[in-house]
């Protein structure tokens, strides 16, 4: 096969996915394609910032930042030069729930490129000077964002929404906690989360199943069998109805808002996806876009989304408007939530939302990297490749009754937890 027609709906996307089992016990999903001389690999292990020990916030983020700073015989400089000589793309990232990796190589360099990747995964050096350098970069990033309204609003929101839970903690840590992280901490976290029962991996491009299986053995046979994870308890957005105002001398107020969402396993989840799309999804069609931006010119940016924390389904949104009109903007947003909850969407709105969600699914699969990321996400959610075909059928099956019920469940009385940064008129802290 010469093209990765993984999007070739309406036939089947799933049939283009091969499950490749390596002898080391790890299974990867592969879409084999030779249209472009590249190989893209994405992986994710559970255990992001939620695994950071108390007082060591930012550890998973520092680990992600130091894995490519020297490995095996190669110190940081030699490793970076080897990566550049082969023009490899290699990077790691930590979020609240997982640590993920991105690797992409020209297929003609694949053997050496996979070797370097294996070294980063299996034998990172965590040399003192390299760790210090990355620590300095993270600290500079934290300082750069110390008075950034969006960062501040996110922080204030999480603090109120997740009080006492791991999700309230900053993924990249605080200056003081980042300062306290040691080489030993890095090694310990790596040993706990880099385990073969804990990795989801997908590969797209110019590689066959047998070659991939042997590459996976080289990458992962040194890993532990089982991860040693601290369980993250399920939680829910708290303080709904509360207002948290953070004073900052800027002309525009930055708002973050949210309330509990619906879990992916919930029978109403796909109905909730359509409801969110109608409320604040898409680009130019949502109720929030029309009411806040188009009709009233209140904001450049306004949206809502169903957020994907592993242990907390959430409806989150944001807007930014000049201080003088902040209260008015929030009133419009809350009124839209209430209205949609009470009356539900119209049949026409639901029909349009379904058409968009179904039709645009293909656009998530038009580059190798995007395909690989989608395949990892689907594995993390516990689905089979058949989900690739199932997903649009689930959207299609949402009835107006389902959507009305989901709107009520999702939006309830329309109240929101709101964090606001700036000097917003008409919004005062409460709750």
């Amino acid at each position: 096969m010469t093209a990765h027609n993984v999007v070739a709906a309406p036939k089947s996307r799933a049939e283009h996915v091969q499950k490749v089992s390596a002898s080391c016990g790890v299974e990867a999903w592969l879409v084999e394609s030779y249209a472009v001389p590249l190989i893209s690999l994405e992986f994710s292990v559970r255990g992001g910032a939620s695994q950071d020990p108390a007082g060591k916030e930012g550890l998973a983020n520092l680990l992600a930042g130091t894995l490519d700073e020297g490995a095996g015989d190669l110190d940081s400089r030699a490793f970076h030069r080897a990566i550049e000589d082969l023009a490899i793309h290699l990077g790691f990232n930590a979020d609240a729930d997982s640590l993920s990796g991105h690797f992409q190589t020209l297929s003609r360099n694949a053997p050496q490129a996979f070797q370097l990747f294996a070294q980063a995964l299996n034998a990172p050096r965590f040399d003192e000077d390299a760790v210090e350098r990355v620590r300095g970069q993270i600290a500079a990033g934290l300082k750069r964002e110390a008075f950034d309204p969006e960062t501040m609003a996110g922080k204030a929101f999480r603090k109120a929404a997740f009080a006492g839970h791991a999700y309230a903690r900053p993924t990249r840590g605080e200056l003081s906690t980042v300062e306290s992280l040691s080489r030993r901490d890095l090694g310990a976290l790596r040993a706990r989360v880099f385990a073969r029962d804990n990795i989801k991996i997908a590969v797209v491009g110019a590689i066959d199943a047998a070659t991939l299986a042997s590459r996976l053995d080289a990458l992962l046979s040194g890993w532990a069998d089982k991860a040693d994870l601290v369980a993250t308890p399920d939680t829910e957005i708290a303080s709904v109805g509360a207002r948290k105002v953070v004073d900052l001398d800027v002309p525009q107020a930055t708002l973050r808002f949210g309330r509990p969402g619906l879990a992916k396993a919930d029978p109403d989840y796909f109905a909730a996806v359509t409801v969110n799309h109608i409320l604040g999804g898409g680009a130019f069609t949502s109720r929030l876009f029309n009411e806040v931006r188009e009709k009233r010119g209140l904001a450049y940016s306004v949206y809502s989304q169903l957020h994907e924390y592993d242990h907390c389904p959430a409806l989150l949104g944001a807007a930014a408007t000049k201080n003088e009109r902040a209260g008015e903007t929030l009133d419009v947003i809350e009124a839209q939530c209430r209205e949609l909850s009470e009356a539900g969407p119209s049949a026409e709105e639901l029909d349009k939302a379904k058409k968009f969600l179904i039709g645009s699914y293909a656009l998530r699969f038009d580059t190798s990297t995007k395909i690989a990321s989608q395949l990892v996400r689907i594995q993390l959610d516990g689905y089979d490749p058949s989900y690739l075909d199932e997903r649009n059928r689930r959207i299609e099956a949402v009835t107006l009754e389902d959507a009305k019920r989901a709107a009520k469940r999702l939006l309830g009385d329309g109240r929101l937890l709101v964090a606001a940064v700036g000097r917003p008129e008409g919004i005062a802290s409460r709750g």
């Binding site: 093209a3 990765h4 027609n5 993984v6 999007v7 394609s33 249209a35 472009v36 590249l38 940081s76 400089r77 970076h80 030069r81 550049e84 000589d85 023009a87 793309h89 992409q104 020209l106 000077d129 350098r133 300095g136 970069q137 600290a139 500079a140 750069r144 110390a146 008075f147 309204p149 001398d249 800027v250 002309p251 525009q252 930055t254 898409g282 680009a283 130019f284 069609t285 931006r293 188009e294 009233r296 010119g297 209140l298 904001a299 450049y300 940016s301 930014a320 000049k322 349009k352 058409k355 968009f356 969600l357 039709g359 645009s360 293909a362 656009l363 038009d366 580059t367 990297t369 700036g422």
Partner: protein, 448 residues
Amino acid sequence: MESIAAISLTPNVAAPAPAPAAHAATAVSHFTLENGMEVVVIPDNRTPVVTHMVWYKNGAADDPLGKSGIAHFLEHLMFKGTKANPQGAFSNHIAELGGQENAFTSYDYTAYFQRIGKEHLATLMRFEADRMHNLVLTDEVVLPERDVVLEERRMRTDNDPSAQLDEAVQAALFSHHPYGTPIIGWKHEIETLSREDALDYYTRFYTPENAILIVAGDVEPHEVLALANETYGAIPARAEPPARRRPKEPPPRAERRVTLSDEKVEQPAHERLFTVPSYATAEPGEAEALEVLAHVLGGGPTSVLYETLVEEEKLAVSAGAYYLGSALDDSRLYVFSTPAEGVELETLDAAVDRVLARVAASEPGAEALQRAKTRLIADAVYAQDSQVALARWYGEALATGLSVKDVASWSDRIDAVTAQDVRKAARKWLDKKRSVTGFLLPVTNAAA
């Protein structure tokens, strides 16, 4: 670098990444319709999806004096509908077909794009052709949208000291040429932009002879050409393509420094911008040498700036450089760094001087040169994985005075750059007199 090469209509839909360079594709087709509109077709048969873009060869640098921001404001207003397709009709239709859309404005071009299942290409072309010549604007839609743009400006700039410094640095770098004026416009001028201003600008620039159609995806070139003839081809040619008359920047004679202190700054930062030729204005080989120079100097963790300032001297936590080669007129090369804890910006500034002097005095080593070229050329191969990236490369090139042939030969031209070319480019263009240095500082009590 947080420089804004282009700003888009909505924050949530990502604009395609700016093109680092260009791509050596072989199967690209290029046509010109009878009314003067150019058509480029880039085949990508892997998925039944198509990217459709219309680029207009005018941008913020073509804003009339006193009307800064009009190119960008009009970009917003292009979504307000026509007689046949009133406000929202186009966007709603795209959404129903499962498409995504956005638009962006840069100094030299304004572009509108959609991504959608390939069977809907003809529909997009009909709508897009309609708004090329039938836009309807009323104060009822223009005035709230002007407030939206002011909110956009507050979000991007007025809330952010580092963006304010960038504006001041650009303004100092281009004292006369409009690249010194922000794309979004100055606030006091945005506030006065009217429906008439927008329509004047629209009438002047939104014509087929000033437009480029780029289609990338699972399509046949002759089918695209036939559709283009039916839709865009039906729009009558108006005249000669509109001329872009821009004041020329005088030769820079004095090094300049711009400092911004703000109580919201916790982390100082250093930047230096040089005026340098673009691909469109450079002598043969010179822009390619600048591209390689910028990469050797500051492209990632193996660059001279990073290895020297971050790894060896430990004066900075990050450092890099970037050449903005896609521009119709003389452009800029950025050098940026973030000081390590406790390091004064003056100290870092002197260290940047030393690195730049060294690069101008000696040729890069063979390995460093090869490494930079390998990465630049490989990135053109990686781009083949993204039809949006390819479409953007061709659009940007053609809108800034380059040809399809220029794009196709780019990798070979990069490969031909010698160590001597790199040193010569550094010596000629990294002259401090051509530069503005920006200091971003916290507020200190001590008189500085």
